[in-house]
């Protein structure tokens, strides 16, 4: 059992939780994730380890409500317990030798790119961050990102805050301004990562993306998470989750993410009814 120590709503449907998980907190590195299961009948879902305090033994996750499991998780509060927590899974982000980095985060992906930016800052790299959301209300972690970035650029799709446009547009502007960039780390919705990779490809800038394929065991046993990178099949849970953005088949990823759409809807509808019944 894992205790929830703290719960904060970051926006309408994005929640931050601090968990009591000393063993994982001690080991976890930027880029790694956990798998949690709320209760006996629950699904196993992967979430990035956004932050950890090895001394206090705590682990931070940030998630967006998209379906039944995340909706149910969002109703839990400090003091409640999760049945299962496995991790840290996946390979840590490869950060060695990166001196000038751009961290691009879209939506809840800002939470996922934050630890990478923090680790880069810690190793003395220059960090420029571009974070975006559909609108002002949905933007998360602005203060935290400011704290770890030498320069922070904010965009919103509707122009309600920061620059009007997509993060990929802002990145393009930045590159064209002559900014020296060793590597771009881009994390967010699949179309966003695809757009960013398309921009950087033109300039030959190395781009790392984190793939959120559907997972079951996350130990390399099932192959649910398979993605195509450079024409080869890889398992995102053990070979990734981070890959070369220029080699990833994003369309395949997007179509595999739709595999359970009907069931996910059924599950969510049932859950909503249950909640209203109470």
């Amino acid at each position: 059992m894992t205790k929830i120590l703290e719960k904060v709503d970051l926006s309408e449907n994005v929640v931050k939780m601090v968990l009591d998980a000393p063993a994982i907190a001690k080991k976890r590195k930027a880029g790694q994730f956990i798998v949690l299961k709320i209760d006996e009948k629950g699904e196993r879902i992967p979430l990035t380890t956004v932050d950890a305090d090895p001394e206090k033994g705590t682990l931070t996750i940030i998630f967006q409500v998209v379906g039944k499991t995340t909706a149910k998780l969002a109703t839990m509060k400090a003091g409640d317990e999760l049945m299962d927590l496995q991790g840290p899974m996946g390979r840590p982000t490869h950060l060695e030798g990166v001196k000038n980095a751009v961290c691009v985060g879209g939506g809840v992906g800002v939470g996922v790119v934050y630890p990478i930016g923090a680790a880069l800052k810690k190793q003395g790299a220059k960090v420029t961050s571009i974070i975006g959301a559909r609108n002002k209300e949905l933007l998360i972690l602005e203060e935290e990102m400011k704290g770890i970035s030498d320069n922070l650029i904010v965009t919103t799709d509707d122009g309600s805050y920061g620059i009007h446009g997509f993060v990929s547009d802002a990145l393009k502007t930045l590159i064209e301004s002559g900014e020296k960039i060793d590597e771009v780390f881009a994390i967010g919705p699949v179309p966003m990562m695809k757009a960013v990779a398309a921009v950087t490809k033109n300039y030959g800038i190395k781009t790392t993306v984190s793939l959120n394929s559907i997972m079951v065991d996350a130990t390399g046993m099932c192959g649910a998470c398979r993605v195509a990178v450079g024409g080869e099949t890889k398992f995102a849970c053990v070979d990734g989750p981070e890959f070369d953005g220029h080699a990833v088949d994003f369309d395949l990823l997007a179509s595999r993410l739709r595999m359970y759409m009907t069931q996910e809807k059924e599950s969510m509808d049932n859950y909503r009814c249950e909640c209203h019944g109470k």
């Binding site: 130990t219 099932c222 192959g223």
Partner: protein, 471 residues
């Protein structure tokens, strides 16, 4: 002379049939297919055994179960005692009685099998173990006083569970680290409920916990802690029983389309995550109408029979050789046929076809014919030119074998693996290239059987004991 007479007499009684659920009924439920012997039938079947002085059956059992002794106890109506006898040699008799390939092991060497059908050793084993479990009289064996030494077991499959059971009885402090949220390995995530009820595996694990074994789930060794960190933490030896759990795909075009599963994923969703009970359980699974399973082994049979229970109208086995070469147990093939599985033999997939949404709609196959025998002695299937055809499907389960999982070797310096990534360990002792690190089961041999994994666990436990006693 006397023995011969006895034999003559006994041979007249035919082997007792196992009562089974009707195929038409059972494809709509997940309950076990064979129902089990009644006490009366078990005693009658046990009486068929002629109590050989040099029992061939026993040599066929990888862990050397004292078959005549436990069978005799059943014949005498001493069912609990029979179960205890079994447990002297096998830690999981209720499991082995169900899933051992008896026809190629113990029963193959039963003397009665020469002229008639062998004693139904597996069914009797299952009967005795079930009787004990249901009676509530599970005996907790005497445990030697604690010796102060600690052993870590990685992986809670049959190999790891056996090591833990043996070492705890010898006075070691034993902790099992299991990557998933439930212990049992393939017994819980792979083999379906209708062949091995999960409550049986749970009971066996509860028993180990009663003996004092600590089971830590959600602990992926290599990630949460490395082998070196386990030693630094004070463990005196480590056993690796991490299985062969990495699925193999064929590498043909379209294999990543939606609707295409590995058998591991399909079975894990269904068994471990209980997706067959969706939406009561949260994990979804595709309930295909036309499901093809690629492969002809036991895992393929489990997958195709699962597809039927999930509501398939057409469930196919696509296998590139002919019926005689099917690697699955004859009993499983028989069960599959009874349930309506369609066998597309001498057929090999070459490409998957998908729709605009990226969902599989068909398998382009070629017909095969058998050519010259290959190294394994089986006739090599070769493609018939121009024989391409398409099978319409909406779900595919690829069941063509497994590979070694890379996490442990990737994170354990100095641990020798072979060219396929399996851990190199001595067959008799389980010793690996690292001092104090032992390995056994599928991670050493590649995908094998429950009883062989248990056998390897037994040998490793004995050699860990020897190593730590002299240390």
């Amino acid at each position: 002379m006397e023995n011969n007479e006895k034999k003559e007499k006994k041979e007249k009684v035919p082997r007792h049939k196992m009562p089974e659920q009707d195929p038409k009924v059972r494809i709509h439920n997940y309950n076990e297919v064979p129902i089990g012997y009644s006490e009366e039938t078990a005693m009658k079947e046990a009486e068929r055994c002629i109590q050989c002085k040099k029992p061939g059956c026993r040599t066929g059992c990888p862990v050397g179960v004292d078959i005549p002794a436990f069978v005799k106890l059943i014949a005498e109506g001493k069912f609990i005692e029979a179960a205890w006898k079994l447990k002297e040699d096998s830690a999981l008799p209720a499991v082995c009685g169900r899933v051992c390939p008896q026809e190629s092991q113990c029963e193959k060497f039963c003397i009665l099998g020469k002229k008639d059908e062998p004693v139904a050793i597996g069914r009797l084993e299952r009967f005795a173990a079930d009787f004990e479990r249901n009676s509530g009289q599970v005996k907790i064996p005497e445990i030697t006083a604690k010796n102060g030494k600690k052993v870590a077991v990685v992986g809670a499959g049959p190999a790891g569970l056996t090591v833990a059971g043996d070492l705890i009885k010898l006075g070691y402090e034993v902790t099992i680290y299991e990557a998933l949220h439930k212990p049992g390995g393939v017994l819980v995530y792979g083999i379906p409920e209708f062949r091995l009820p999960k409550s049986i595996v749970e009971a066996e694990i509860n028993y180990l916990e009663k003996l004092g074994v600590k089971v830590v789930c959600n602990a992926v060794i290599g990630r949460l802690e490395t082998i070196d960190e386990l030693f630094a933490e004070g463990y005196d030896a480590v056993f690796l029983g991490v299985g062969a759990g990495a699925p193999v795909f064929m590498g043909i075009p379209g294999e990543n389309l939606s609707g295409i599963y590995s058998a591991n994923e399909y079975l894990t969703r269904s068994n471990l995550m209980k997706a067959y009970l969706f939406p009561e359980y949260d994990t979804p699974i595709v309930r295909g109408k036309n499901v093809a399973v690629i492969g002809g082994g036991n895992v393929a049979m489990d997958s195709v029979r699962t597809a039927l229970r999930l509501g398939a109208d057409n469930a196919y086995i696509i296998y590139r050789r002919s019926e005689v070469e099917l690697p699955a147990r004859a009993e499983e093939v028989h069960h599959a046929k009874e349930e309506g599985v369609q066998f597309k033999l001498l057929t090999n997939p070459v490409e998957y076809i998908g729709d605009a949404n990226g969902w599989v709609t068909g398998i382009k196959c070629v017909e095969m014919e058998l050519g010259e025998p290959d190294e394994s002695g089986r006739r090599r299937p070769v493609e018939k030119k121009g024989s391409e055809f398409v099978i319409d499907v909406d779900t595919v389960v690829v069941s063509v074998g497994t590979n070694a999982n890379p996490i442990i070797p990737m994170t354990t310096p100095g641990l020798e693996t072979n060219k396929w990534g399996y851990i190199v360990a001595d067959e008799e002792t389980g010793k690996t290239s690292r001092e104090g690190v032992y390995a056994g089961g599928d991670i050493v041999t590649g995908s094998a059987t429950v009883i062989l994994a248990m056998g390897a666990g037994k040998k490793a436990a004995a050699s860990i004991h020897e190593y730590l006693s002299n240390k």
